[in-house]
Amino acid sequence: MKGGVRQRNTYAAWAVAAVALAAVPFVHSDPYHLHILILILIWSFAYTSWSMMGRFGLTSLGHGGFMGAGAYVTALLWNHLGITPWLGIPIALLCAAVLALIVGYPCFRFRITGHYFVLVTLALSGIVLQVITATRDYTGGSLGYTPEATKGSKLLALQSSDKVVWYLVALVVWALGLAIWTWVDRSMMRSAMEAISEDEDAAAAAGVNVTAEKLKITVLSAMMTAFAGAIYCQYQMFISPDTVSGIAVSLQMVFAAVVGGLYVALGPTVGAVITILMAEILRISFGTKAVGWDNLIYGVLLVLFIIFLPKGILGSFLERVRARR
């Protein structure tokens, strides 16, 4: 009985939070603030996607590659073939899934874990970055790339200059990310993956198909990351290898997820809020002099967090709250 009440209360709290978040742009519609909120939501979704794997010890530095694939495939299909992002995004997600399978299958089949896995996925983001740069006739190379503004229907082109629309889209995408995270958290997949991250041989002996389980979570995580890349591209209408691909982006994902908290649903979101706000505040208060300072602080924080607070801000906070109860 009591559990039922508590659950009902939780649902009510979520509903109130959802309505409150959706109402934000109608109460306060300052475009700059909305822009920051949209960025926070999109990146939160990307960081959540990374943490889907990261929380089970599958540390990937290849997610910059998936995000780049999502953004560039969508934009290239639109510009060169005129394929609407409504179709382009699924194709891009498929590309990311194939990429994840190509890298993931041998890794998991041959038990490549730990350092090796990190470095193999690092190769993946390196390849995607180099391919984007090398095919500069099509992708614009390191100068970046802009999806052409549509002359026809904005809905068909998934383009909009209205920040309120984008805020709502980003909110839905972010909520979708949390929903998938919670779904995995409650499914058998979580038990299987936790068993695998503790001891692969024992998990296999207990009847867990190690390769298949790891592949499932990897493909899911890769597709979500690619989706984040595509949405980011449609919103910003400008992508460059540095902002959506490569090793720096991969490290940024790791950093935000670790600082916020890897093992809790809202951890990556907290990480995104902290990192993006910090970068913006530094940028506003110091202007161009602040170039580099945000990453300087990130770097020190990342080291300190891993040494002193490996569960992240939200993770450690929740743990303390629970211990007090």
Binding site: G57, I112, V118, V120, G246, N295, V303
Partner: protein, 293 residues
């Protein structure tokens, strides 16, 4: 048709030889990282950033303060060796018993830190040390003198490390620790001291690499992102901690980049090398020279 083939052969030979020279430099990079991995069992993701700091040190010493190259080089090597020790004491040591992934991520934080430190302190301009070494012409082929010098210096550096590891007591202790971390403590070896010496050695190899790379490339805060990944891939391809494997993998990689660059852009050389790496992970996941278990 015949003359076409002749030119083609000359180019091919030039690319092969240039690949060997590049391989020497890559082997030096891989050696330092392999040493750290083999002995301390951590991956310095920020290894290339240490090299970047070393390159800046060389630039400032030589081009700004006018210190002669042969005096600046040892200072640079000592500086980076000291940075390696500092990295070990401040970041790695508190995390020695933490999961390996945490150590790796913490050095990732150091990567961010060093990169932005360089941006803040030195700016994002490309800087050139301003030493113009002549180009060697051998028949119709051209070789960069800087690369030849780098190749010789790496060979000497690697030989010195080899002798140190084989002939000295400390070197033997380092190799023993790499084989079995637990038992050596019981044998009375001070692991902390060995770790610090290894970090200094790894750092000084990065410093040596910096002295050589600064002759070939402009230094800028993000140069680590272009030399780092390739170094890691070489180490993994050769088998992390496997010195001979790293050596072989360096030359394989260098040849692929050099040949790929000959047929198309240099970036495609890198793409080919990366693709080759992933393919090899299917075939020999534990490294080129690993024994099948």
């Amino acid at each position: 048709m015949e003359s076409f083939l002749e030119i083609f052969d000359i180019y091919l030979l030039e690319a092969v030889l240039n690949g060997i020279l590049l391989g020497g430099v890559l082997a030096l990079l891989a050696l330092g990282l392999n040493l750290i991995f083999g002995v301390i069992d951590v991956t310095w993701i920020c290894y290339a950033e240490l090299i970047m700091i070393g390159m800046y040190a060389m630039y400032y010493l030589y081009a700004v303060f006018g210190v002669p190259y042969w005096v600046a080089a040892p200072i640079c090597i000592l500086l980076v060796a000291w940075l390696g020790v500092l990295l070990h004491l401040l970041v790695i040591e508190p995390l020695l018993s933490a999961p390996p992934i945490n150590q790796l991520l913490a050095t990732g934080g150091v990567l961010f830190f060093l990169q932005s430190f360089a941006t803040v302190a030195f700016g994002i301009d490309f800087r050139n040390i301003g030493i113009r070494l002549p180009v060697l012409a051998l028949g119709d082929m051209n070789f960069s003198y800087a690369r030849l010098l780098a190749f010789i210096a790496s060979a000497v550096g690697m030989a010195a490390v080899y002798v140190f590891m084989k002939k000295t007591y400390t070197g033997t202790a380092i190799r023993a620790i790499a084989q079995d971390r637990q038992i050596m403590v019981l044998m009375g070896v001070d692991t902390r001291r060995i770790y610090i010496i290894t970090s200094a050695l790894g750092g000084s190899l990065a410093g040596l690499a910096a002295c050589l790379l600064v002759l070939m490339y402009d230094v800028h805060p993000f140069i680590g992102l272009s030399i780092g990944p390739i170094t890691f891939l070489i180490c993994v391809l050769g088998g992390l901690g496997n010195f001979v494997g790293g050596f072989v993998a360096s030359f394989l990689f260098a040849e692929i980049i050099s040949m790929g660059g000959m047929f198309s852009d240099l970036e495609w050389g890198y793409v080919l090398a990366f693709a080759f790496f992933i393919l090899m992970m299917f075939i020999r996941p534990a490294g080129l020279l690993a024994r099948r278990s």
